[in-house]
């Protein structure tokens, strides 16, 4: 072939696609003053005319088509149609920009709601399914960008929980396809515990429908409005702390404080839920200890990065919280909403 395809990103990330001739040139001078304005006829080879129609994003679709097809198959198999409204809408016009190896960054990939565009920076297999989940749960309406549990408008909220839950779903449904780089470990863990309270079916549905309000409504069965708001914003603060450039020290006091608040709130929510279930006889008193152990899942929660969670909470703390809630006698008639 006389020409070979090229795909470039310049230093500032500008993407260029084209074809280059296989010709060795030692030195050249680019004549900027040469004008074609007075040319009355141009005969362009057909191959060049055709290649100019190559869609910049078509190249990416060809490369990532298998991953997208796999993602689509899994989603359609695992979720009901009503939960896939944003997925069906966005997949039609999704753009994927391949900058793998072309831009120096630690970021694996990003999804931009406004452009419905995924940009991949490093090793695309490790990040494409995560970004596709963002795509499948995003929309823009009334000047607000909604993506899973994240909302960006006049005020931003929910990003930390959203990244954690997106990563949790990615591992749950695509863990068998690729080895994952540890990412958002704390956020994943927190999201998992919130899901234990709300339930997988409801939480996945709220996520795909970009329905943070729906998730809040579920949590409001067990938490006050202030407790829910504080929980979500503490997760955000922890997330920003974890992802700021100079934050490598997980044991900073601020980080510990956020973690402690988060887990105490989560434990409190579950303790209240358990109290209601005992009152409703869904859980028998003899099974309380088993239920608590099943929820807390010590082997999982305390196997975190640097053992940080152990510093802020213990299973004994949970029993104390549970006893406190039981003593308050907060039964169905005085629920939190």
């Amino acid at each position: 072939m006389m020409f070979e395809d090229i795909l470039y990103a310049t230093k500032d990330g500008l993407l260029i696609v084209g074809a280059i001739a296989k010709k060795k040139i030692a030195a050249f001078k680019l004549n900027r003053k040469f004008s074609v304005e007075n040319m009355r006829d141009v005969q362009m080879p057909p191959q060049v005319r055709t290649s100019c129609y190559v869609d910049l994003y078509e190249l990416s679709r060809r490369k990532f088509g298998d991953a997208i097809a796999n993602f689509s198959r899994i989603l359609e198999r695992k979720f009901i149609g009503k939960d896939l409204t944003y997925f069906y809408k966005n997949i039609k016009t999704l753009k994927i920009k391949d900058l793998v190896g072309r831009v120096k960054t630690n970021i694996l990939g990003s999804y931009y709601v406004g452009h419905n565009e995924i940009i991949l920076y490093n090793d695309y297999l490790k990040s494409i399914y995560h970004e596709l989940f963002h795509m499948a749960s995003s929309c823009y309406r009334d000047d607000v960008y909604y993506s899973g549990f994240s909302q960006n408008g006049e005020h931003d909220i929910g990003r930390g929980l959203n990244e954690g839950y997106t990563e949790l779903l990615t591992r749950r449904y695509f863990g068998g396809f690729v080895d994952f780089v540890p990412a958002y470990e704390e956020e994943v863990r927190i999201a998992k515990y919130i899901e234990k309270i709300v339930g997988q079916f409801k939480m996945e549905s709220c996520y795909l429908r970009a329905n943070l309000i729906g998730l809040i409504r579920e949590l409001r069965f067990y938490l006050t409005e202030t407790e829910v708001t504080d929980l979500i914003t503490d997760i955000d603060k922890m997330h920003y702390l974890n992802n700021s450039d100079n934050s490598q020290d997980y044991s900073s006091l601020l980080h510990l404080e956020y973690l402690k608040n988060i887990y105490f709130t989560i434990f409190r929510a579950y303790a209240r839920k358990l109290c209601f279930e005992i009152e409703d006889r869904i859980v028998m008193e003899s099974a309380i200890d088993t239920e608590i152990k099943k929820f807390v899942e010590e082997d999982y929660i305390f196997s975190d990065i640097d053992g940080v969670v152990k510093e802020v909470i213990s299973i004994e703390d949970f029993y104390d919280i549970f006893d406190e809630e039981l003593d308050k006698n907060n039964m169905r008639n005085s629920r939190y909403y």
Partner: protein, 85 residues
């Protein structure tokens, strides 16, 4: 017509052939560009290269107006032209 030869005819009816070295589409401008040479060199043996915007719709060439576009084309030529293909 050869796959890599561009023919330009000026207003006086003179036709000249150029060898196409590169075709590009830039995301930023959403324009197509043709980089070509008439295979002439100066006294130091430095190859003369030209570049124009290619308007597919009307099959016409246009002059490049901005330094940014020129700089990008120059950068790409620098990157590729000494690779010994």
């Amino acid at each position: 017509m050869k796959d890599n030869i561009l023919k330009l005819t000026d207003n006086l009816g003179n036709t000249k052939e150029y060898e196409i070295l590169m075709t590009l589409k830039m995301e930023e401008t959403n324009k197509n560009y043709i980089i070509y040479t008439d295979n002439t060199s100066d006294l130091d043996g430095i190859l003369n290269i030209y570049a124009s915007i290619y308007n597919i719709e009307n099959n016409k060439l246009e002059d490049i107006k901005t330094d940014r576009e020129w700089d990008i084309i120059h950068e790409l030529l620098e990157r590729n032209m000494n690779k010994g293909k």
